[in-house]
Symmetry: C2
């Protein structure tokens, strides 16, 4: 509509999740009309992140340092290791604010159909970490999906062989959720896993 | 949470309109985990746009060329000039798809309180364009707000002195709008501006 460069800006903004053509237009015009400083800052942050951000050598979460801020924090318990599928899961658990251990990020789950096997999830690295004896308990926090459960099962078996305690985060009805809006699978699980009070 | 570079990426994504802290986190992790190519493309488009995009020499809309694609299109009527406040207004009118003339973009409206006067809106350039005799009718499409009306009035007076026809886009109830949801000012205007059928 305007010119190739502006069209390209609008089109490239659509790589952002949740941004459709209308939002991309609004964003491009906003930046060019009212916030070129912000646009330059964002361009720089994107370029530097793409270049610099890699994985933590211990836990595989995203970081531009050798070790992430969590692994580097001596107040975090290295004896507790929470296994998650993505860095977004780390963020969600950190924001809940009660977990004091460290993490291991798989960057996915086992998926033979997509050709994703143990080595893609860093399971050799996990095995090595568990072999050091540093970790006393592995808390499995993969997603409660078929793939997440299969991945959980695979990892648990390997961890148990190394005499490491393995636990799974509890599944059931979410706090504050109303029963009528909760899916049948979750409800059924909540009933079969009911606890005496 | 993760590292300075990722924090900076999340924070700089918030320069985008409508992006709060949660969306910025989601966007940053999505780009770093799943679309680094998209992130690089966006970084490049942002940097090149900030450097290259300026204003069309005739109509002041955003473009990296001397003249925008609309002014450069010989099928667009140079005798019709639609005055709008922003490039986003140009986009909205173009997407409506019926206007065949050209535009003049003010990049704002008269606002003495904010120190925005005629020269900030390119009104000298507009005066020059109207003096060439190329434009036969100016269609005022500034916003139907107090500032937009004041700006419209100011420009109309100057255009009329140059013997150019001036019109104002119609104001009333929007097509498809339901009367019960339309504000009182619009309804009152629609009644006082009623037309015989
Ligand atoms: Zn780490
Ligand atoms: Zn132009």
């Amino acid at each position: 509509m305007f010119s190739p460069l502006i069209d390209e800006l609008m089109s490239s903004l659509r790589c952002l999740p949740g941004v459709g053509p209308k939002s991309a237009q609004r964003m491009a015009l906003h930046l060019l009309e009212r916030d070129r400083e912000g646009a330059s800052r964002l361009a720089k942050a994107l370029a530097e992140s793409v270049d610099g951000v890699s994985e933590c050598s211990r836990c595989r979460t995203l970081t531009e340092e050798e070790f992430c801020t969590i692994c580097n924090n001596h107040r975090r318990l290295k004896s507790l290791l929470c296994v998650v599928e993505t860095p977004a899961d780390v963020l969600a658990i950190e924001q809940a604010g009660t977990y004091k251990g460290t993490y291991f990020v798989l960057h996915g789950h086992l998926s033979p159909i997509d050709g994703i096997g143990p080595s893609d999830l860093g399971l050799d690295q996990l095995q090595q970490l568990l072999s050091t004896g540093e970790v006393e308990e592995v808390i499995m926090a993969t997603n409660p999906t078929i793939e997440g459960e299969a991945t959980c099962h695979y990892i648990s078996e390997r961890a148990k062989k190394l005499q490491v305690t393995v636990s799974r985060i509890a599944q059931g009805v979410p706090l504050g959720g109303e029963l009528e809006y909760i899916d049948g699978g979750t409800l059924a699980h909540a009933f079969s896993s009911r606890q005496k009070i």
